[in-house]
């Protein structure tokens, strides 16, 4: 008996000594995160997880949402829609989660979205790019908190319009589905702001020598060249253009994947001045972002990327909506999320009611001395593009 009393006392003392953790009276809010934790997308899933964990930690230590604690339940979707559906189903049926998020693969997001409709739960993505998710395959139960593919090209075109309104644009892309669709998308965005495109060329993937196309490009006399090549193709294209003195009077812009950490070193000077459109940069100079980058760095020992920032921002949107709705009921949350404006590391974002797409500020970044520097911020309203969702 005495022993029991000591144990109880010790337990009491430990509780008292624990950091001032808020005492939650009610059931926690459960967020199911179905994200790739293994396989080739595991590196994306890792930063998604980190973004959510940091936000949940901050929210919980500040008292949670409506006095309720936020709990994250992770499942590995393996970037495979079939697996994602299975894991999401488990989270909905067994764990009774209030909200689903985390999917990376666009097909996984669409599949889990349908599951959300059947189970009357809301679903979101913070990574998937495919325009269709908030476009022709939009769903009243699906919200997207990150920028879609079109916002990148719209942002880049908006920057170009501001810098070089009279630009004559030439487009280069690798000759397969991704190359052709990115070139077509940027051409559309550029033409919608009255930038003239004067030619395009599709080179086979893994071309050795791009100089065979330089004649065609030079005789068209463009002053801006857009490329959606990636990896080694970008290295050859740009270094060979440099050889032929073609970079001197031409501005080179491109898709966000054209120049990455993987090929920037091999490009050397040829990469200087390249501009692309992207949804986040750790260098964004706002108090919100500085605080986020510092906290992220302290916890995970590296700078946050786009996926971490969008995931972090999503939980704060959830918090704001749940507080506005005063509940986590699906219909009340849907209403609260529509037209919600909240603060993220990127700045203010708004959920467009018509297609559930987050309108987020976009950034034009330029390579200077081998580093990406933000050269311009494109307001969310300019980068969003038309609402093509007709289901709700």
């Amino acid at each position: 008996m005495k022993k029991l009393a000591t144990t109880l006392a010790a337990a009491g003392a430990m509780l008292a000594m624990a950091p001032a953790a808020p005492v939650y009276a009610q059931e926690p809010i459960k967020i199911g995160v179905v994200t790739p934790l293994s396989g080739s997308y595991a590196s994306i899933g890792r930063t998604v997880r980190w973004g959510f964990e940091l936000a949940a930690e901050e929210i919980n230590s500040a008292g949670g949402i409506n006095g309720r604690k936020l709990v994250l339940l992770f499942e590995d979707e393996e970037a495979n829609p079939a697996v994602a559906v299975q894991k999401a189903e488990r989270l909905l049926q067994v764990e009774k989660v209030d909200f689903l998020t985390g999917t990376v693969n666009s097909a996984s997001t669409l599949a889990v979205g349908l599951l959300g409709e059947r189970n009357n739960r809301l679903v979101s993505t913070t990574v998937s790019y495919a325009d269709s998710i908030t476009g022709d395959r939009c769903s009243p139960n699906v919200f997207r908190f990150n920028a879609r593919a079109e916002q990148q090209s719209v942002a880049l075109a908006a920057w170009l319009k501001k810098e070089k309104p009279q630009a004559k644009l030439y487009l280069v892309g690798p000759d397969y589905e991704m190359g052709r669709s990115t070139v077509a998308a940027f051409k559309r965005s550029a033409e919608s702001v009255n930038i003239k495109s004067i030619g395009e060329i599709f080179a086979p993937l893994d071309s050795k020598d791009y100089s065979q196309y330089f004649g065609q490009i030079r005789s068209a006399r463009p002053d801006v060249i857009y490329t959606s090549t990636a990896g080694n193709d970008t290295v050859r294209l740009l270094t060979q253009m440099q050889e032929f003195n073609m970079l001197r009077n031409v501005l080179v812009i491109g898709a966000a994947g054209a120049i990455t950490g993987q090929n920037i070193k091999a490009l050397g000077k040829a990469a200087e001045g390249f501009v692309t459109g992207i949804g986040y940069s750790a260098q964004i100079d706002t108090p919100e972002n500085k605080k986020f980058v510092a906290a992220f760095n302290a916890k995970f020992k590296e700078d946050p990327d786009l996926f971490a920032a969008d995931s972090y921002g999503m939980l704060y949107a959830y918090k704001a909506a749940a507080e506005k709705a005063g509940s986590t009921d699906t219909d009340k949350m849907r209403e609260a999320l529509r037209n919600l404006t909240w603060m993220t590391p990127q700045g203010q974002k708004t959920i467009r009611a018509g297609d559930h797409q987050a309108m987020s500020p976009m950034f034009a970044v330029r390579i200077e001395n081998g580093q990406f520097k933000i050269v311009s911020t494109i307001p969310a309203a300019e980068a969003i593009g038309p609402d093509v969702c007709t289901r709700f």
């Binding site: 004649g215 030079r218 080694n232 050859r236």
Partner: protein, 296 residues
Amino acid sequence: MIDADYLQFILAPQVINGLVLGVAIVLVALGLTIIFGLLDVINMSHGEFYAIGAFGALALASVGLNFWVILVLVPILMIPLAVLVERLLISRVFSTKDRHVTTLLLTFGLALIAEDVLKIIFGPNTHRPDTPISGATEIFGIIIPNYRMFLIGIGSLIIGAVAYTVYGTRLGAMVRAAAYDRNMAASLGVPVRLVYTGAFAFGVALAGIAGALLAPLYSVFPTMGRDFILLAFTVVIVGGMGSIWGALVAGLVLSQVQALASLFIPPVWTEPIVFATMIVFLMFRPQGLFGKIGHA
């Protein structure tokens, strides 16, 4: 259609680009054709020797060596590697009944291993040495990068030197004799084994120097060996397996076909045209344009 703009911006540069590509292909194909002509070995790992030459140049440049020193060192360093491969691997299966199949499989396996070893040592990312001769020259409004002009020059020198060695020297006569009739040459006192090893090493050294020369243009990465190998094989087949002049003519003509065809048809279709040429040759003139080394 032929106006000044078209000629100046498109046609003339395209012919020059084709010439640069042609010289590059001939450099790679020369080693291939010599090894086939003399040893009767289809060297599937030739592309990887080209890659090793490029990576060797990169590694030597990173320790601070001058480009011209590297250009001399790379082929010299390739020789011991080639001797090892020839003596330890190829010579062991050389006398088997189906020499073509066994050596093809052996060198193919070697290529796979070499590619992965390069990946392990240098990582999968792309590297690129700086262009040793920068700038470009404008002739009649046609811009030619200086390094490409140098490449045409030094490539022609190397091709000339190889041709002279094979056709104009006593050493070359021994090589041709060994290729024509191995046993007769041996009985006349030609050290046939040594000639074989030497010819293999010579071919590999040529691939190495091609790698070092082309690295600044085409960049350096572990799978680069596959880049030229199909084109080089096509050149060797069309030119005549083992023919030096054949490789030269076929290399220059096919690269022009590729360069000029891309003006009129989508560029993805230029490679099929080149490979179709190869198939036509295999069907109707399998011996190629010119005869085998030692036979002509």
